[in-house]
């Protein structure tokens, strides 16, 4: 009752919505990098919003089904195939025992999500199935690993209206809330921050995304460490932003100019290096309204 790993890849890990309540124990939030694609994948299969999936970064993974069931693959186009035939993304698909499912190389986007009906049943560690390599919680998938899940002969699945399938090749404007030390940056420095095109660099992983551009200056370079929110934008000593993501440590000591709105972080998770990026302000009421609507639609509740 499982999928078996035939060929491992650069980075494929089991993730769910995350380990949200252990920051006080020094743990990262962890969880999927692209909440949009992940949430749609589970939704297409009528899964729970928190069901575990495989997050495949840059492709290269090959799995064999050892069970009859239903899957959906959402997020990046990494050359997904079933038995060597290209198959549509963002769709519920029936899978039979012995089927080989594989991902090749990125055509568009960075991270693909494999959802299975009922979710992957890997061990729950500290209230979550999310793997965090830095914290030695779980491990990345290697050849021979087995991903347990239930079998299904019948299932219904939903469809996604085409307008919700994102285009990952566009430059990005992401919305940011004025938080933390926002008011301690001078108006001139804030103007510089909001009126330039940054570029996504290669230093871009589950921990954070470093941008290149014109540096902004900061009054204090280091401060007393404090709790970090997912999406916080830290200004490093060189004056350049690092957007802190799912595997970022729970506390940190660099000044932060704001916190990016979560649904825009989902878009960022699919942008390849060299993509241009701009920041734009969003206020808390607008952000909460939009996120609440998303949570209600997908029945995300804690």
């Amino acid at each position: 009752m499982s999928f078996k790993v035939i060929k491992s890849s650069f980075l494929s890990t089991v993730q769910d919505y995350g380990r949200l309540n252990h920051g006080e124990h020094g743990m990262s939030q962890s969880g999927v990098m692209d909440e949009h694609a992940y949430t749609w994948g589970n939704h297409l299969l009528h899964n729970d919003f928190n069901d575990a999936v495989v997050e495949i970064t840059f492709g290269g993974l090959v799995l064999e089904a050892q069970i009859d069931t239903f899957i959906a693959v959402t997020g990046a186009d990494l050359g997904f195939k079933i038995n060597n035939q290209s198959v549509q993304l963002w769709h519920g698909l029936q899978i039979h025992k012995g089927d080989i499912i594989s991902w090749d190389i990125p055509k568009s986007g960075v991270r693909a999500y494999l959802s299975v009906k009922g979710g992957f049943d890997t061990p729950v560690l500290f209230d979550s199935r999310s793997v965090n390599l830095r914290e030695h919680i779980g491990a990345k998938l290697v050849k021979g690993d087995v991903l347990p899940c239930k079998g299904f002969d019948e299932a219904t699945y939903r469809f996604i209206p085409p307008k919700y399938v994102p285009n990952y090749n566009q430059d990005l404007t992401i919305r940011i809330l004025p938080t933390y030390q926002f008011n301690e940056f001078s108006i001139n420095q804030r103007d510089l921050f909001f009126n330039q095109n940054y570029t996504i660099t290669n230093a871009n992983d589950r921990t954070g995304c470093r941008l290149s551009g014109a540096p902004i200056s900061i009054k204090k370079e280091r401060m007393i460490s404090e709790g970090i929110s997912y999406g916080s934008v830290e200004i490093a000593t060189d004056g350049l932003p690092i957007i802190l993501l799912k595997d970022t440590p729970s506390i940190g000591g660099y000044p932060k100019i704001g916190t990016v709105f979560s649904l825009d972080l989902a878009k960022l998770a699919q942008r390849q290096p060299n993509t241009k990026l701009r920041f734009k302000l969003i206020d808390i009421h607008e952000a909460q309204k939009e996120r609440k609507k998303f949570n209600e639609f997908f029945e995300i509740s804690f």
Binding site: M27, H136, I251
Partner: protein, 227 residues
């Protein structure tokens, strides 16, 4: 006085002071508990650190303004009540030897101390847990005696073995697992702080105390220590 700022679409940061102060960790830890108990239906997580408390909440159930007001109300009440959780003291055995204390020899010569004096200084202090972070079960302990304070390494090491005891400026800490890091390593403990033992998750809480004691090379080896 308290200062509350937004930390994101579902998080706030409460400042209890603007300077590191030994009276704050207990106060912040107690308030975190009070907050989690009183507003348990909306609080998701509360991360204490030195002078602040980061709180995330369920935006499905409560708006920023309503949550902000509730927290402010609680902070006012808290000012009058001093009760709270009992602090615990953890005793940690350390082998202070050059084979495992990767920076020990350099430190002794820089600080012009012999090994016995160094051990005496590092073990005589009762340290306070100011924050948990960087990685799980990593407790930031202060304050280190001025005579052995030393800045972080300019270039962090790629791999520091689990159990290594480090110093960075006025802080000391134990690395719970193999990790990268820039602290000056002065010894190693055999005390298992990894999450292989899930009970370790609560080993240190902000406001708790830690005391180190020295073990000999023989004791270290007899109990399974590697050099």
């Amino acid at each position: 006085m308290h200062n509350i700022v937004s930390a994101g679409e579902n998080a706030i940061l409460i400042y209890f002071g603007d300077k590191i102060d030994a009276s704050l960790p207990k106060k912040i830890g107690n308030f975190a508990n009070q907050l989690k108990n009183t507003l348990s239906d909306v609080v998701i997580d509360a991360i204490p650190s030195y002078t602040s408390l980061h709180v995330s909440y369920d935006l499905n159930k409560i708006s920023f303004q309503a949550f902000f007001d509730k927290v402010e109300g609680l902070l006012t009440q808290q000012a009058s009540s001093g009760a709270g959780i009992e602090a615990q003291t953890t005793h940690i055995p350390v082998y202070y030897g050059v084979e495992v204390g990767l920076d020990l020899e350099r430190l002794l010569s820089e600080k012009n101390l012999d090994l016995a004096s160094f051990i005496e200084i590092h073990t005589s202090q009762e340290y306070l847990v100011y924050a948990i972070g960087f990685s799980p079960v990593f407790a930031f302990l202060g304050e280190v005696d001025k005579r052995i304070q030393t800045p972080r390494l300019a270039t962090p090491r790629i791999k520091i073995p689990a159990g290594s005891v480090g110093i960075a400026e006025s802080q000391t800490a134990v690395y719970p697992t193999d990790s990268s890091g820039g602290w000056n390593i002065v010894g190693r403990t055999l005390l298992d702080l990894s999450l292989e033992n899930p009970e370790n998750i609560d080993k240190f809480r902000v406001g708790d105390k830690v005391k180190f004691y020295s073990i000999t090379r023989d004791e270290y080896l007899k109990n399974g220590g590697n050099l």
